[in-house]
Amino acid sequence: MNKAGQNKSLRHEIKSVRRAAYFFLAPALIPIFVFFFVPALAAFVLSFTDFDIYSLSNIEYARFVGWRNYAQLFKDPLFWKAMTNTLYYVLVGGPLSIAASLGTALLVNSRLIRFQGLLRAIYFAPVVTTLVAVAVVWRFMYHPRFGLLNYALSFLGIAPIDWLGDPTWAMPAIILMSIWKNFGYNMIIFVAGLQNIPAQLYESARIDGANAWEQFKSITLPMLAPTTVFVSIIAMIGNFQLFTEPYVMTQGGPVNSTLSIVLLMYQQGFRWWNLGYSAAIAFVLFGVILLGALLQAKLQKRGEA
């Protein structure tokens, strides 16, 4: 074959490779574009309109209002309440949950434990349960009079707590339930991280006379740092989206003590049909999540340097 012919067949091949690639990509990327990317952009536009229930029947009723939704939002005490509650959940619940994950990971990874696989499966089981069903069950566990939790606490001499009826206790109750529901997931990731730590490190530490606590502090924790950062970022993104627990257990109450950002977004959007306002809430949520993720990534970089 001459050179020109070779070039031609090569060009032909490149073209057919390209065509095959597009053929494989299109079925996934077109839906992602239409049902994820376009709505995300549209939400941004929506957040600058006064789209409401009248616009639902005729879109021409919607007008651009500039930053009005955002301005209104930042003046809305309910929004700040929801933001404070969500931050409470993220900043208290997140670290506690990760501590529980790490603790149980160390436990199931301990050589002293025999049925490691079984224990791991038991600890993990709440993760696969349906959140709505779990919230329904825990609502009864938290019952001030007939609930199992207060009954168990009564043996420790603790007086009954109105978990979901008391504004002070409602958010801690939701945090406690989320820890129970979620710790198993990150536990598994920590177990994988623990198994990746070379055993020689511990051996040489033992030879140097380091006790268990010193080994944990100077080997386990530093070696797990990348895993911890990864897990914290994922947990934070998930925790900011708190919705189902308050929706099922408290409807945001009592006195808005469990109202979360997403619950507020849902109420504004799908109960009162203030879709423009609701979209602004969604974007503030997005902004906060983005900020949090960047901050954590930056802290990690600084830790490495």
Binding site: A40, L112, T130, V132
Partner: protein, 273 residues
């Protein structure tokens, strides 16, 4: 002496945590077999005095639970099958095909993962409303046809498949699709099983999206129906527990059967990033 005390403490702690972890689920199961009102006694009863199936009977007759079970099943199976197919094709293309802008496109997609799904719900609802897909299976499914995370997982896995397998199949005259179907898919089995379990459970357990899309009672998924029932039957503890059991049971069965794949999948996904 100290060593055996430490061992005793660790084992004791492990057992206590296991009991606490299982307690809510055990109590749910137990209460679902109690007769009406028995769960609301003081001191709380741990086991039913007499086992009754009346609540399960009520669920399936008067409350049409089978309807919701079917809805949940249809949606979870469809989303899993469709997204597995499309995600694996795209993941394969990103891993093994050279085309202009590939890496940039892939990086762009991965960056999009920080956008929380809630941001898209409002416009997506309006879109579906416009084309009449509200209150249909298709309306719930469209949001899960393909996922960036799924594409990402398959791509990472497919990268490790040697090119020589693909070249050999091409020499034999296999078409691109045939290579994907007969060479790539079988080798991607571990990640596909993991992804299938993730997707099935994610769709089964999802709440916000079906809550928004399904406006008619007969189209509710199990979680939406259960949340709705709790509003109406708030006093009926035992009935609610039976409903919770029926909602959790299918995913629990899958978990117990496939937990080996599931757990190793999470480990792999967690370490890659």
């Amino acid at each position: 002496m100290i060593k055996s005390l430490g061992k005793f403490l660790i084992i004791g702690l492990a057992i206590i945590i296991a009991v606490v972890t299982l307690a809510p689920a055990m109590w749910m199961l137990s209460a679902s077999f109690m007769s009406t009102g028995e769960a609301s006694t003081f001191p709380p009863r741990l086991l039913p005095t007499r086992i009754t199936f009346e609540h399960y009977f009520t669920l399936f007759t008067r409350l049409q639970l089978s309807r919701y079970l079917v809805n949940s099943l249809v949606l979870s199976v469809s989303v899993t099958a469709i997204s597995l197919f499309f995600n694996s094709m795209a993941g394969y293309a990103f891993a093994k095909y050279r085309f202009p802008g590939r890496d940039r496109l892939f990086r762009f997609l991965v960056a999009e993962m920080v956008i929380p799904a809630q941001v898209t719900t409002l416009p997506l609802f309006l879109m579906l409303n416009k084309v009449g897909l509200i209150n249909t299976y298709a309306g719930v499914i469209v949001a899960g046809i393909a996922t960036i995370y799924g594409i990402f997982l398959v791509r990472q896995f497919a990268l490790s498949i040697p090119d020589s397998f693909i070249e050999a199949a091409r020499m034999d005259g296999a078409s691109d699709f045939r290579i994907y179907w007969r060479v790539i898919l079988p080798r991607c089995k571990p990640i596909l099983i993991t992804l299938a379990i993730f997707t099935f459970m994610g769709t089964w357990n999802d709440f916000l999206w079906p809550l928004i899309v399904m406006t008619d009672d007969s189209m509710y998924t199990l979680p939406v129906a259960l949340a709705n029932l709790t509003g109406e039957h708030v006093q009926d503890t035992e009935l609610m527990m039976a409903g919770a059991v029926m909602t959790i049971l299918p995913v629990m069965i899958i978990f117990v059967a496939l937990q080996k794949y599931y757990i190793s999948g999470i480990m792999a996904a967690g370490l890659k990033e």
